[in-house]
């Protein structure tokens, strides 16, 4: 029975991915991508990787979905503004089509074939002795947490997580580099819909509580900084969309401090540990639990603020372009 469900899920994911790529309209692509992300999250649950499933559902379907919808609204503005020139555009596209089919098409087919071969080889040669699971399980008591995923992410391979936070910050910097850093005007142009306001106010404490739960629960179960950060970021995005732009209210130095807090604390801790004679991110086992909790909390706040600022910057960009 479970084999049946798994194979249906696998077929569904491949089907959704194909449909997502082949959909004729951008709107369809975006919504199929939502469905694809949720199906993928379900697959991760079936594989027993609940941490990945939550992250997939939260980031790929949730946060990316919001960004995609925002971009979609932008595109619809652009196309509605350039309706009259669409005929000319259509002609040029239809002329270009044979060229598109010939060279990039061949490259695409070659690349796909190569990718399939590599995947087949990887599946064929899958290691039999369960990879590094045994080593992780053996060192788990020293890590200060009970969830092996958190132990790997924040203790054994803390370096990777630290760099990932840097990557997210770099993403924000790229958005700022393209759009420019602005002191946002406190705009109240959004029509204050009473229903939306009430629902946002209802969901804000729940999202905060649930994020905090995921953060704290990451010690001994699925959850952790990234998942909590997306939920906390959702609060900021909801409030922004509801006409209460939080990031514009707090002073700029504070938001900058919040942005770099996680990665900064991580870095300082690493240096202190290095100065103390240990290697980078080698926490003393007796403090490891507390340190990981502090790092995760600061990281979650930083990532949440980063996600909100990415959204706010892009949203602001769109508003200016559409005006």
């Amino acid at each position: 029975m479970s084999v049946l469900i798994d194979s249906l899920l696998a077929i569904l994911i491949v089907y959704l991915a194909l449909q997502c790529l082949l959909a004729p309209r951008l709107t369809q692509t975006v919504f199929l991508f939502f469905a694809f992300g949720l199906a993928l999250a379900l697959a991760w649950v079936r594989l027993g990787a609940v941490d990945v499933a939550i992250t997939e559902a939260a980031i790929a379907s949730g946060f990316l979905g919001v960004l995609f919808l925002d971009a979609l609204r932008d595109f619809s503005f652009i196309t509605s503004g350039k309706q009259e020139s669409s005929d000319a555009a259509n002609h040029s596209v239809s002329k270009k089509k044979p060229a598109f089919l010939s060279l990039p098409g061949v490259v695409l087919v070659l690349g796909l074939g190569l990718f399939l071969l590599i995947t087949l080889e990887a599946v064929w040669k899958v290691p039999e002795s369960g990879g590094l699971t045994a080593a992780t399980e053996a060192l788990l008591p020293e890590s200060g947490v009970e969830n092996p995923v958190t132990a790997v992410l924040l203790n054994f391979r803390a370096y990777d997580t630290w760099l990932e936070m840097g990557v997210i910050l770099l993403g924000l910097l790229a958005v700022m580099a393209v759009g420019g850093i602005k002191i946002f005007p406190v705009h109240r142009k959004t029509p204050e819909d009473p229903v939306l306001q009430q629902v946002i106010l209802f969901f804000t404490p729940i999202l905060f509580l649930f994020g905090a739960f995921l953060l704290y629960f990451g010690k001994n179960g699925p959850g952790g900084a990234f998942q909590a950060a997306v939920l906390w970021g959702a609060i900021g995005i909801l409030l922004h969309l509801g006409g209460r732009p939080v990031l514009t209210v707090i002073p700029r130095w504070l938001s900058q401090l919040l942005l770099i807090m996680g990665i900064g604390f991580f870095l300082m801790l690493g240096f202190l540990l290095l100065a103390g004679g240990a290697s980078l991110f080698e926490y003393p086992p007796s403090y490891a639990g507390v340190l990981i909790l502090i790092i995760e909390t600061l990281a979650a706040i930083s990532i949440a603020v980063t996600l909100v600022s990415v959204f706010v910057h892009l949203n602001q960009l769109n508003k200016e372009e559409s005006n």
């Binding site: 819909d193 229903v195 939306l196 629902v199 209802f202 969901f203 729940i206």
Partner: protein, 102 residues
């Protein structure tokens, strides 16, 4: 098959029926407002049935409360988004009144 399992199956089948009806409505109804109606009403009811079935199946009060709150949050979120989409559409191009009623 115990009586609990029987009820679980009945509830799940009822939930699937409402999901099917909602999907059929989305595919067959003519305009956005009727489609929204099919999507939110029928799907929420279907989700409620499935949630009840799962709560009965798991048979632990904490899990039941969690499942019930999932249903509650989905209800709130989906009805709000339904309202927002309908309002946006109504402002963009108002529906043609089929029959003016006094």
């Amino acid at each position: 098959m115990t009586i609990t399992e029987l009820f679980t199956v009945i509830l799940l089948v009822a939930g699937c029926f409402f999901f099917l009806a909602g999907t059929l409505g989305v595919l067959r109804f003519p305009d956005l407002f009727t489609r929204l109606h099919a999507l939110t009403k029928a799907d929420n009811l279907g989700l409620g049935f499935i949630a009840a079935g799962m709560a009965l199946h798991i048979a632990s009060p904490w899990a039941a409360i969690k499942i019930f709150s999932i249903w509650l949050f989905t209800l709130l979120a989906s009805s709000t988004s339904c309202y927002l989409i309908a309002r946006f559409q109504k402002e963009k191009n108002p529906p043609k009144n089929r029959k003016e009623e006094g």
